[in-house]
């Protein structure tokens, strides 16, 4: 696991205590594209946490952004987020 993924994982685990967390570093697929010049990576986050219950998609994404706040300006250029509650995961396997 690379260092940036490890940092993202540590922040999300501390802030949201996820049941399930999968982070994929997709940066290689975007190397050379104009947006990648800042040095930040592209990451896909799949996260299942009880903390999302009763929250809209935008509120869930905000929770993730807040947990990663300082990384959003350095390590992360783009972040794709799939945020589910444990109940939603079991109803959409």
């Amino acid at each position: 696991m690379n260092e940036r993924v490890a940092r993202i994982e540590a922040r999300l685990r501390a802030a949201l205590a996820p049941d399930e967390l999968d982070i994929v570093d997709d940066s290689a697929a975007h190397a050379g594209h104009a947006g990648a010049r800042s040095g930040g990576g592209h990451f896909n986050v799949y996260i299942v946490a009880a903390a999302f219950a009763g929250r809209s998609p935008i509120q869930r994404h905000r929770l993730v952004h807040q947990a990663l706040a300082d990384l959003m300006s350095s390590d992360i250029h783009a972040l794709s987020i799939k945020a589910l509650t444990p109940e939603e995961r079991s109803s959409h396997p």
């Binding site: 975007h30 594209h33 104009a34 947006g35 994404h61 952004h65 959003m72 794709s80 799939k82």
Partner: protein, 111 residues
């Protein structure tokens, strides 16, 4: 509110469906911007766009307007809906169509 935030606020309020994106719907410069603008286009409702790569002031300040750190950003009826992921989820569930239809409903008769 400083000038640039006021300018953004005017754009958001004056356009019922608006996307801040990298590039244009015809020539997107980022895959996320491309997919989000394609979802908007698929609703068949006219939408406005701002190319943030052509306006550095907006590029640098939009994240603090609605406390959202990334691009693209999609606004419907003056409210931030989200970025690419949420817009695609809403498109797939049919919710995006309802939102844009409602947001533009007054337009035809008012125009």
């Amino acid at each position: 509110m400083d000038d640039v935030l006021q300018r953004i606020d005017q754009q958001v309020k004056n356009n019922p469906v608006l996307i801040y994106m990298k590039g244009t719907p015809q020539m997107p410069q980022c895959g996320f911007s491309m997919r989000a603008s394609q979802a908007l286009a698929a609703t068949g409702v006219p939408f406005a766009y701002v190319n943030v790569l052509e306006d550095m002031e907006i590029f640098q300040n939009l994240p603090r307007y609605a406390d959202w750190p990334t691009f693209p950003q999609i606004y419907i009826a003056g409210e931030l809906v989200g970025g690419c992921d949420i817009t695609l989820e809403l498109y797939q569930s049919g919710e995006l169509q309802k939102l844009v239809d409602t947001a533009t409903a007054g337009q035809d008769t008012a125009g």
